[in-house]
Structures are given as structure tokens and as C-alpha cells.
Symmetry: D2
């Protein structure tokens, strides 16, 4: 029986060059940067790593680069979801040969499967994988993995050793822990929802795969340590700060562009993401970058932007906005054939 | 076996006076206005009638006024949902005494009931009601009534004689018709979704309870007649026009304020609704009223507004809007502690 | 500036007699029972109190009975939502005269209002209420109250003194606390989601309006005390136990029938609820009552049921169930005109 | 200006051999089978074609086989969505070289994009594609394409020539037609929702990409012809029959297994799909196959199954089912740590 996966695993953003290709040297530099700042493990080919926007070959190469550069310093959880169970099992075999610690496999997406379909999918993979498997539940993007399915897979499949849950639903996490841990004490529960990291740890989670740790690893790691040490007053303050950063990066733009923009401010050459941006989105992203720089400066991780940080949030009467919208946006929408549905 | 409910039943808006009280004389005038314009029936205390915003006494009085003034000219479908089954059955008895044709009872709301709970609710009412009952399915507001529940109630309850379905889901309507009509040929299927009235009639619906018929009864009635006459080309054009009016009234403001505003333009003194409006909403509603007047003028039911109808929809670059939003709205939201969730 | 609302407020179930009428004597006995077991306050006319299933007169009478019997022993938070703002303000005035501590007003339901509509609704009430107002956010049943709306109401309305949030969304609670508390230090944040009570308290909530406290007040109160005392290991164990009870009462039947059944086991004559139950639901509820009795016996609050607690959960192969379903349920559904949508 | 895409385009199921590999000879035979039965066009690599469960190489090979075998007999709409815009544009180029009529590109999935993100994605593809592009809206699986986005893309991109909409939302289709057709008369509107094919055609759709046409092309084609010929009574009856088949294939199993099973009955060796099935699902699928065979026999496309078609739907008291569920399923769920969430 191996030890539980524990601590903060960083979902790796993939730096791209000016041609949109994987920037290998920056990827390697980023690995060092993260490990130096204390993350417990790496998690490439996750949602933050935009695994769906790379080809199968690129996904494999990302793991190869990171495993090679890591040289065993920290555990690696490698995203291994491919087109179907056979391709996924092949990826498991490759990543096993590369020496990663475990794979993480997102629940089937695009098609919305029933609980039994989700079970059958993971069962076939787990029965044929040479490497430990982490279930990855992210119901906002993929078929949900419900509690009975986690219990059943944990009972029947020794190779299933963990679940990463990004639902942010705390009682759901408790239901899984209560049902699985008695029979599988080494099974690990990881949260992907940074906004609730402290309370998740307090009800028994073993750690997290948290996108903020790719941008401000110092904070995410410190929050983990303070919480486990029982220093809850300081932990609470840090959780509120992390929530502010998380919200700004997550909610203000197309995921994960906010994380990419913030990481750029921290000095990693992330390049532009592969999902095209409209002109309006580009303008918004520039505004967001300024605000992120202010948040990062406030946390001591960056200088303030040239214009300073005072004037970023002008007073706006929300009812005035209604007037603007009534005069322009609604008219435009109406002209275009839709009235705001 | 009585005849099926057929045709266009108008969900009555309730005119209010300057104190927010029921404006009885205008309510009476509105009844005449509607009947003169050809609606087949009246449907007070529905969603458009904002039944939840009146007291139990007021709801009864609305039915009394309308039944009294109608004097048997057209059938009345009276909304009878009250606080619980006993109160609802009492309302059924009162409305029966008033001589209305049938009651319509919305599925339980606030609490979201299972299919069996919905069944048990209607079963108890139907077994104790002296008057015919129309089931009212409006899943966006109340517990959904699924197909097996409709089938079961139609089989077990003679008093259940119709369903009004406002889901707008055409195949759902077909599933109900297919399952119920063979055993209950007099059972009536009414659609509450004006946007699909013509196709609903074409697949077998008997009519509709359509909010547009409270504002432009001439159009809704004519659409019904053309469709039944098989004059599909003209019907199609009218359906597109009705869709435009429906969307403008439905989607541009808090329901049913758009219908109220449009009816005011047509000369019925609707007064202000009981749901308070923010300053911004009031401005928007004024803008909407202008646009509705243009649509109504275009259909021949109103003069153009004083400023004319040319300049209402300024050209707006949607990407420019993003800049406005980035500069102001987002900043405001962020200041207020939420970044757009 | 008054003190914050703090602690566990019990959403009162309303005992009914064999005629379905309010059982006044049992309601009074229940108030004593709760106060003796340590709840900090009472909360009649909430969702657990099924306020929508009583008439306006009954809702007022419930408050009168409870306020009269309480005789100032504990604070009362009185649910005051009525048909429209005027009726609601009248209820506020009545409850103010009765001496209750504050009212709680659920966001508008049935109609789904925009954020601005929700704002306008509460603004009109707060500007005209003589008594402090608690906003009540329960997005599964009523229009959501978003963070900017809470912030705006807290800024503009002195009478708005608290929010009860039943979303169970922990980061959402943190966003409200972060945005409101600096300017309104006496504003209170209460969670209605028992399943997350401990973590909610740990991130800064002041207490809860928790349905479990109406059935096992000893546990809910002790969980509150242990959490505030920083005894997290014991608190965590109790939170897991409370989750088990909460899930069993909440998820196994039509809300709030499970709570009603469990309270009956504890010796309060709750009577049957007003929502009719199908025969199948009655059978299920009897099974549930046995299981609840086992859970309560396990917690020391009841004897075991006559048949004991060993055999309640037979081993079932989930795939066997599929066979049963394939052979019977699916066939039935298909016969009834729907294939499982 | 080329002609509009019109008629019934069949979303091709991909026959697999016993190893799960593409069965090329059966794929070729299936192409002939479909064309002989009158479908207007072919649509490989759609949702029914399970494009996400094939590798990029396999997707290309599927198009190559079908284009080669079709030899220009009918137009081909080739699904071309790949990992990112660059890969998708490369696919467009390849399929252009193969001589297909147009490509169909599903809206971005997994990540849920905003309307502007969806716009930017299609804009970049359309600006770089040598071949005409059909937008593919399937909101149950992928980011929704809203009306203003369709309008904008139709205005700015000559290469965007059609939309395939699988929402089944009839007024939504009308809103698109009304807004786009005046400026782009050759733009084509195709519905992917077989359950509403007749009404969709009646409000102006040009045709459909309908999964039923891959199984019962005779019916889907005839429904198209009857509707366009204005023979509505016969068309209506056929639409009801198609709905029954569509529901049975769609709702009774994991999509698209029901379609695969029915096609097998019609004599095409579809093989097993790539998504693993649990034991229970396999049993259900066998039951479904019997019921599908009865439906197909009833339509004249198959013999009855050996056991006949009388006894497939046993009478079941729905309340009895509750007892079974109370005794077994609920207990099982509770044992497993979840009570029915």
C-alpha cells in the first residue's frame, strides 16, 4: 500500500511561443520556478493545462518534458484522458514508463453519460492500467461522477487511488470521504476548487490540484501549511486573499486566460493561448491584467502597473449602466434578431 | 362528455389603479375589448395575471368581476391555485358556483416536487373538485408535470380535462397527445408558448392560452384561424410577426411588465404592476415602450411614438461595448465584491 | 447599533392535528422542547415551516402563538413574505408589534426576477418596515440574491441587518462577508445549509437557521459550540454525523417530510403534512422512518425500531437493479408514452 | 452564390469490427444502403458518428472512405472539429481536397465559452478555411451559439453558409431565420432534432441532419417529402411515428447506442461501440433491441423478434415500483454513502 497523494499539485499552464507551439525551454523553467516555490507536485494536462486544445502527440510531449525536467524532485500526476478507453490506456502505459506517480483521468465529456456509463468507462481503464489512477470530477465540464460510482470504483479497483473533485461542493466531498475512507484508508481526496481549499482541508481532504498554485504558489502552499498547523486565523485571512485572486483570474475572462495573464505578470513567458479572442475580449484582458498586477503587487509579488492602482474601479451608478444598456446594447441585440435571451 | 376546450384563451392582465388596487371598471372594459376582438375565452389568475401577487381575496374578486361581466359570452378558465389542496378545492367550489367553464391549476411551486408528489397533489384536487380541471405545466416557474403523470391523471381522473403547457417543447406536447388522446378523445391540449403557436396547432394542439392575445388579440386569433384553415404561408408570416412581439414583450423586462406596457399603448389603463422596479428598470421600460409602440404601429394598432421609429436602434459595435463594460461595469462589480459570477 | 444575530435559529416545523389544522398546544410544547435543548432562537414561517402551504391568516397566527409562548426567552426571526410588498410590509408591522427580533423575507419566487428586480423588491420593503429585515437567499426555490445586490442593500438600507443563505456555496458566503462586513460590522451572516455548518462558521458565519436543529437540537447546538471553541476534531466528527442525518431527512423524501417524520420519532406530534403523498411515497416514508429511527437511536435520541437496525440495507447488486428496471419500469414508462426522459 | 444545402443529411454511424477498428467494407456498404434509400446527403464525424471517440487520424480516414465510396453521388457534410483552430483549419483543407461539399464544425466543447469566445473561434476558422463551413449548435453538449453570434458570423464570413441546430428549440430557429435570411438568402438552416422535423420544415428550415435517417431513411425522407408537398395529415402521422422511434433510440440508453442497436437490426454490422457498457447496461440494451425490433417490424422494416411483441410491456403499478425501490435501491444507495442525490 503506497502513501496517499497529499499536498498541493499544480495544474501546469503550458507556455507557448509566438507560433503557438509548446515553448519547451520556458516549460522547463516554469517547472523549476514552481518547485522552488514549494508546490508538492505537478499536474500537467489538466483543465488549466487546456489538454483538449493540444493534439495527442503534444499531450504526450508535455508529459515527457515535465517528467524529464522534474527528475523525480516532486510527484507528477499526469492527465491521461484520450479519445477512448484504448487510447487512454495506451497513454497510461506511456506515462507509467516515464515514471510519473499517477495519472488523472477526467470523466467522459461531450457526451453526457449516466452514472453507469461513467463507472464502465473508469472500470475498463483501471482494469488495464499499469499505473495508479485518479478520478477527475469536474461536473461543469464533464459527466458527473456521483458518490456511489466513486464508492464502487474504490471497492473494485485497487488501481483507483484518488479523486480530484472540482465541484467545490463541500458536503459532496464529505460524502465521498465518509463512504470510501473506512475501506480504503490510503485513498486520497483532492479538491480542485481553490476558493474552498481551507475548509476542504479541515473536513479531511488531503490536498488540492489548485490553479492558483501555478500563479501564486507561495500563497497556496502557505495556506495549506497554516491550515494543517491549525493556525486558522491566519489561514482564514489567506483564504480570503486567495479567493480574491481566484475570482479575478477565473471569472473575468475565458478560462484559463486570466491565469495565463497573471502568470505572465509573474515573469513566465506564457504566450497567447490557443483559443482565439475577439477584439473586445483582448481589451478586457488588458484591463484585467492591470487589475491582476495590482492584486499581485498588493500581495508582494509584482510592482504596481505604470498607471498605479487607485483609479481602476471608477464609481458607477448601477442604474446609470441600465441607461447605457437600454440605449445601446439592447438596441443592438434587437437589431441582430434577439432581444436578450 | 363535454366538448374539448378549443381556441385562444386570453391570460388576463389585471388593470390596477393609482393605489395599486384592482381597477374594476377598467377590468370590465378590458373584458369587452378582448371579446370584441375575437378571443375565444378568458383566463384570469394565470402567470400573466400575476396571481401570486394578489391575496386570496383579490384572486376571488378578479374571477367574480370577470365572470359577472362576461355574462356567459365566452368560456372562462379560472386560475384556482391556492396555498394548499384544501384551499384550492375551496376555490374550485367558489368558481364552480360562479359558472366558469373550468379551472386551471398550476403545478406546485416554490418547493420542487417529484413526479409522484405532483401526481398526488392533482389527484387530491381532482377527486374533490366539482369543476373540470386543467393541469398547468410551466417548468420554468413550477414543478414540472411529466408525461407519465399527465397520462396517469388523465386515466384516473375524469375531472381532469386538459393540460396547458407553457414549456414550448413541441415533442413534449406530441408525447402527451399520443399517450392521452386515444383514451380521452375530449381531453384538450393548450399551449402557453405563443412563439410556437402555429406549429403546436399543426401537430394537434387544440389552442392556446397566449399572453400576446391580451395585447394583440387580432393577430393571435387570426393566426389560429389561418393555421386551422391550412393557409400556411400567411400563417407563417403572422407567426414570425407574433414571435417578434412576443420576444419584445417577454424578454426585454421583468415578466409581465412588457405585456402591461404594450397593453397601455393599446389604450387599456393597466397602471403600474405590483412588483417594484428599480430606477434603471423604469428607464428601460420607457425605452421598451417606445419600441413596442413602433412594433404595434407597424402592425397597425397604434400611432408611431412622437420621436418616430427610425432612431431606436443605434449602430453599436459589440466589441466597443466590451470596452465600456471593461471600464465601468466590471470595475463596479469588482468594487462590490463580485467579479461577475 | 444592535448586536449581530448569532447562533442556531431553528426553522420551526408546524405540528398539525388530525384535521390538518395548526396544533396549537403541540406547537407550544415544541417551543419549550427546543428552548430546553439549547437552540439560540426560533425561525417560524421558513421553508421548513412550509410557509407557502398556509394561508396569510395562518402564517400570522403561527407567529402569534410562538411569540406568545416564547415570552422573550430567545430571539425570534419571523418569516414575513406575503403576496406582494404591501402585504409583506403589513406583516412586518404586525410582527414588530408582537415583539419579534427581526423578520426574514425570502427572495421573490414563482417569477424568476433579475438582480435589479430582487433589489427593488427588498428596497421597498426595507424602506417601509419598522422591524429589522433578514434577506433570505434560497436559489433552489426562489430568485437568487447575488453578491452585488446584498452589498447594495446593506449599503442603502439600515434595516437590512442580515442574510440567511441556503445555497450551501461556501465561497459565495465568503464573497458576501468580504464585501459587506467592513462597512456593516453588525451585519449577520447565517447559513441554512446544515451540511456545511462547521466550515461556514470557520470562515466567518455568525450562525445558522438549520432544519436539523428542529429535530436534533442537541447535535446542531453542540456542533456550533465545539466549532467556536476551536475543538475541531470533535466538531468534525459531529459535522459528519449531522450530514448523515441531514441527508437522510432531506434527500429521501419530499422536503420537509423527512424532518417531520424524524421529529415525530423524537416525540413531537407533528401530524401529517399538507402536501398529499402518493401510496408509493407513503410506503417509502414508512421505510425512511425506520431508518431515521436507527440513526436517532445510534445518536442516543431514540430506541431502535421493533425490527432492529441490522437488516435495513440488504445487499443489492446495482446491475441486478438494471434488470428489474429494464423488465418493468422501462416497459411501464414506454407504455405510458414516455421513455424515461 | 452556391445553392443552399437542402434535404436530409444522414449523420453516419461508424461500423466497427470485433477489434473495435473501423470496419471499412461495412462502412462502404452502409453508404450505398443509405443512398439507395434516398437520403439527400451524408454527414460523417458528427455526434451520432461519435467523432470524439476516434483519433484525429481515424476521423480523417472516415471522411476518406466515405468520400471515396460516395463518388459524388450525394453531397457530403464533413465534421471537421479538431483540437484547436489550427488543427481544425488543417482538417478543412484536407476535406476540401477530398471534394466534400462543406464541413460542419461543432461549437467549442469541454470549456464553456462565452458568446464572444464562440464568435472568435468560428471567425478564425471561417477566415482561413478553403471550404464552406456549417456552424453546429448542440447546447446540450457544447458551448451554445446564440442568435447574435450566428447573425454576426453570417454577416462577416462568406464561408459560413449554414447552421445545423440540434437544440430542438423551434422559436430559436425562427429567430435565426428571421435575422439571417434577408441578407444571406442562400444561407441554410438545418435541424438536428428529428422529433420536430415536420414543424421545423414548416417554419422555414431547409432540411435536417437527423440520426433517425441513418436507421430508417425511408421514413425520414418520406416525412421530408410529404411536408414539402403540403400533405400535412400524412406527414403528421409519420412525424408521430418518427418521434416514437427517435425517443426509443435516444432516451433508453447511452447515446448513440440505441441507434447502433437499431441499425444492427436493419442488417448493417455496426459492431459494439467504443464506450464501455456496464453489465446492467448490456442487459438493458438487449431489452431495448427487442423493443426496437418490434417498432421496426411494425413499420415494416424487420421481422418481429422470436418471442413476439405482445409481452414486452408488462403492467406495472407505479406505486409497487416504489416499494421495490424503497426495499432495495434506496437501501443500497444508503449503504454506499449517498441517499439519492
Amino acid at each position: 500500500m503506497s502513501a496517499r497523494l497529499r499536498g498541493i499539485f499544480t495544474p501546469n499552464i503550458v507556455p507557448l511561443d509566438s507560433q503557438g507551439e509548446i515553448n519547451e525551454s520556458e516549460t522547463r523553467r516554469y517547472v523549476d520556478w514552481l518547485i522552488e516555490r514549494g508546490v508538492h507536485g505537478l499536474y500537467p494536462n489538466g483543465s488549466t493545462g487546456e489538454f483538449t486544445r493540444f493534439t495527442a502527440e503534444e499531450r504526450r510531449r508535455i508529459i515527457e518534458i515535465i517528467a524529464d525536467h522534474n527528475r523525480g524532485r516532486v510527484p507528477i500526476l499526469a492527465g491521461a484522458a484520450e479519445a477512448n478507453t484504448r487510447e487512454t490506456i495506451l497513454a497510461c502505459e506511456r506515462y507509467y514508463d516515464l515514471g510519473v506517480t499517477a495519472v488523472a483521468i477526467v470523466s467522459p465529456f461531450y457526451f453526457k453519460l449516466s452514472a453507469r456509463g461513467v463507472y464502465a468507462y473508469f472500470k475498463e481503464i483501471a482494469d488495464n492500467s499499469p499505473i495508479d489512477v485518479t478520478l477527475y470530477n469536474i461536473p461543469m465540464f464533464a459527466s458527473p461522477i456521483d458518490v456511489p460510482t466513486v464508492v464502487r470504483l474504490a471497492e473494485e479497483c485497487e488501481k483507483v487511488v484518488a479523486i480530484k473533485d472540482s465541484s467545490g461542493d463541500l458536503p459532496h466531498m464529505m460524502r465521498m470521504i465518509r463512504a470510501v475512507r473506512p475501506n480504503r484508508p490510503e485513498f486520497s481526496f483532492l479538491t480542485g476548487w481553490d476558493a474552498a481549499l481551507m475548509p476542504m482541508l479541515l473536513i479531511g481532504c488531503d490536498g488540492g490540484t489548485n490553479a492558483t498554485s501555478g500563479v501564486v504558489p507561495e500563497i497556496t502552499r502557505k495556506l495549506f501549511d497554516l491550515t494543517l498547523a491549525g493556525d486558522l486565523d491566519e489561514a482564514r485571512q489567506l483564504q480570503y486573499r486567495l479567493l480574491e485572486l481566484f475570482d479575478a483570474m477565473l471569472l473575468s475572462s475565458e478560462f484559463p486566460e486570466g491565469f495565463r495573464a497573471a502568470l505572465q505578470i509573474r515573469g513566465i513567458q506564457t504566450g497567447n493561448g490557443r483559443q482565439p479572442q475577439s477584439d473586445g475580449q483582448k481589451i478586457e484582458l488588458a484591463t484585467l491584467a492591470q487589475q491582476l498586477q495590482c492584486l499581485l503587487a498588493d500581495a508582494g509579488f509584482s510592482d504596481q502597473p505604470l498607471g498605479g492602482c487607485e483609479a481602476t474601479a471608477p464609481e458607477v451608478d448601477p442604474e446609470q449602466m441600465a441607461k447605457i444598456i437600454a440605449d445601446s446594447v439592447m438596441g443592438e441585440l434587437r437589431r441582430r434578431g434577439d432581444v436578450g435571451q
